[in-house]
C-alpha cells in the first residue's frame, strides 16, 4: 500500500488523467454505467500499484491499467465481444433497423455507431490516436502491442471506419 505522501503524488500525477481513463473505458465498454464502475476499480488498482510507478508517462501508465481492467471485465461479462476481431467483417456493417437508420441521420450518432461497430482492438487504437491524441509509441505502451502491429491495426481500423461511414451515408440517402 502507498505511503501518505504517495497519495499527494498520486493526486498530482495520476488523477489529472481521469478524463482519459473515463474516455478509454467508455469507448471500450460502450456503456457509461459499466465503464464508470470499471474506471473506479482501475483507479483503486492504480492507487494500490502506485509504488510500482517509477516516473515517466503517468497517462500511459494509468491507461494501461484501465485497459487491462476493461479487458478483464469484458472477458467475464461479454466474452463474445473479444472474439469479434477474428470475424469483424461478418459482424461489420451498420444495422439496417429503422431505428438505426434514424440514428444515423445525426452525424455524431452516426460516428458513434460506426466506432462502436468496430472490434474492441480496432476501436481502442482509433480512440487513443484520434480522441486522445496518443503517439504510436504511447499506444504501444498502453496496449502492450509492438509499434508495427499498432500501425497495421490503426490502418485497418481507419479503413473499416471509413467504409462503415460510407455505407451508413448511402443508407440514409
Amino acid at each position: 500500500m502507498p505511503e501518505p505522501q504517495d497519495r499527494i503524488r498520486f493526486e498530482q500525477l495520476v488523477l489529472p488523467h481521469l478524463d482519459s481513463a473515463a474516455n478509454l473505458a467508455r469507448w471500450l465498454l460502450r456503456n457509461l454505467a459499466d465503464s464508470d464502475d470499471v474506471v473506479q476499480e482501475a483507479m483503486l488498482r492504480a492507487y494500490r500499484f502506485f509504488a510500482r510507478f517509477h516516473g515517466g508517462d503517468a497517462r500511459a501508465w494509468l491507461l494501461q491499467i484501465v485497459r487491462n481492467t476493461c479487458y478483464t471485465w469484458l472477458e467475464k461479462n461479454r466474452p463474445s465481444e473479444l472474439m469479434t476481431e477474428f470475424n469483424e467483417e461478418v459482424h461489420q456493417g451498420p444495422s439496417t433497423s429503422p431505428e438505426a437508420v434514424a440514428l444515423q441521420a445525426d452525424e455524431r450518432k452516426r460516428l458513434r455507431v460506426a466506432l462502436e461497430s468496430l472490434s474492441p482492438r480496432s476501436r481502442e487504437v482509433l480512440v487513443l490516436r484520434e480522441l486522445e491524441g496518443c503517439s504510436y509509441k504511447e499506444i504501444g505502451e498502453i496496449t502492450g502491442i509492438p509499434i508495427g502491429t499498432v500501425m497495421s491495426t490503426l490502418s485497418r481500423a481507419r479503413e473499416r471506419l471509413q467504409r462503415t461511414l460510407i455505407a451508413a451515408a448511402k443508407e440514409v440517402s
Partner: protein, 252 residues
C-alpha cells in the same frame, strides 16, 4: 490500387510518425501519386469529423466524487492498520499513549496551518469547480487578449494582466469576475489539452494569510505566487507540471 506504397506509410506520414528521411521520400512520391493524395484527403476528413463531433467522454462529476471518496477511504483504512500494527509491537499501555500522541500529532499538523488560508484555498477550488458548470466559465468569451482586457475595465479597481499563450499550448478562452474571500477577483480561463485552467488575480493585501506556493486537493492542483502588488493563483485538474509551465510563461 496501383500505388505500391503501404497504407501504413501514408498514415504514418499523416500522423507525423515518419522520420525526416522517409517523410521527405513520401512527399516526393506524393507529388506524382493521385491515389495517395486522395487517401490523405480521406484521412484528414475522417479526423476532422471525429474531432468536431465531440465524441470525447469526460469523467462525470459523479464519477470524480466517487473516486475522491474511494481514495480517501483507502488512505483512511491504511492509517488504521498502521496504528494497529504499531500497537501490536508495543506494550499495550504504551501503545495507547503512542497512538494518542500520533493522533495528536496528526491533528496538530493538519489543523494547525492557518485555517484562514485553508478557507481561501477551499474557496478557490469551489470557484474553479463552479466555473466548470455549463455557462459559468466565462463572462467575456474571447481568445483575443485585446478584447478580454478592456472588458475588466470599470468592473474592478485594478487591471489584471491578460495574455494569450496559444503558441505555447495554453490558449486563452476568456475571463469573468469572481469573489474570493469577500473580494472581487479577476478570473482568466486557459485551456491546455483537454483541461481547463483558471487564473485568479487580485491585489495583495497585508492582512492576507499566506497560501503556501502550491498544493493539491480533491484532484485539483494549484500554485500561487505574488508579483508586484498582485497575487496570482492557477488552479486546474491538469498535472502540476503543466500548471508550473503556465506559471513560468506568466512570470518567467
Amino acid at each position: 490500387m496501383n500505388c505500391e506504397l503501404e497504407q501504413t506509410t501514408v498514415y504514418g506520414y499523416f500522423d507525423g510518425e515518419l522520420d525526416a528521411v522517409r517523410s521527405a521520400q513520401f512527399e516526393r512520391h506524393l507529388e506524382g501519386c493521385a491515389e495517395c493524395q486522395t487517401a490523405l484527403v480521406g484521412i484528414e476528413s475522417l479526423r476532422t469529423r471525429l474531432q468536431k463531433s465531440n465524441l470525447y467522454k469526460h469523467a462525470s462529476p459523479d464519477l470524480r466524487e466517487r473516486i475522491r471518496k474511494q481514495l480517501a477511504q483507502a488512505a483512511g483504512a491504511q492509517r488504521d492498520t498502521a496504528v494497529h500494527s504499531r500497537r501490536w509491537f508495543l506494550l499495550p499501555a504504551f501503545g495507547i499513549l503512542a497512538s494518542a500522541a500520533a493522533a495528536l500529532a496528526i491533528v496538530f499538523f493538519v489543523v494547525q496551518p492557518n485555517t484562514q488560508s485553508a478557507q481561501i484555498t477551499a474557496e478557490l477550488i469551489d470557484a474553479h469547480v463552479r466555473s466548470l458548470q455549463p455557462g459559468h466559465l466565462t463572462d467575456v468569451q474571447s481568445t483575443d487578449q485585446h478584447t478580454v482586457k478592456p472588458w475588466f475595465d470599470g468592473k474592478l479597481d485594478f487591471i489584471p494582466p491578460v495574455t494569450d499563450y496559444s503558441e505555447y499550448g495554453f490558449p486563452l478562452l476568456g475571463g469573468r469576475l469572481d469573489v474570493i474571500g469577500g473580494q472581487n477577483v479577476a478570473a482568466l480561463v486557459y485551456s491546455h489539452h483537454k483541461h481547463l485552467i483558471n487564473l485568479f488575480v487580485w491585489p495583495y493585501r497585508e492582512e492576507e494569510p499566506s497560501l503556501g506556493s502550491s498544493g493539491s486537493r480533491q484532484g485539483y492542483n494549484w500554485t500561487t505566487w505574488q508579483a508586484g502588488e498582485m497575487r496570482f493563483c492557477l488552479i486546474s485538474d491538469a498535472a502540476s507540471s503543466d500548471i508550473v509551465e503556465l506559471k513560468d510563461l506568466i512570470h518567467p
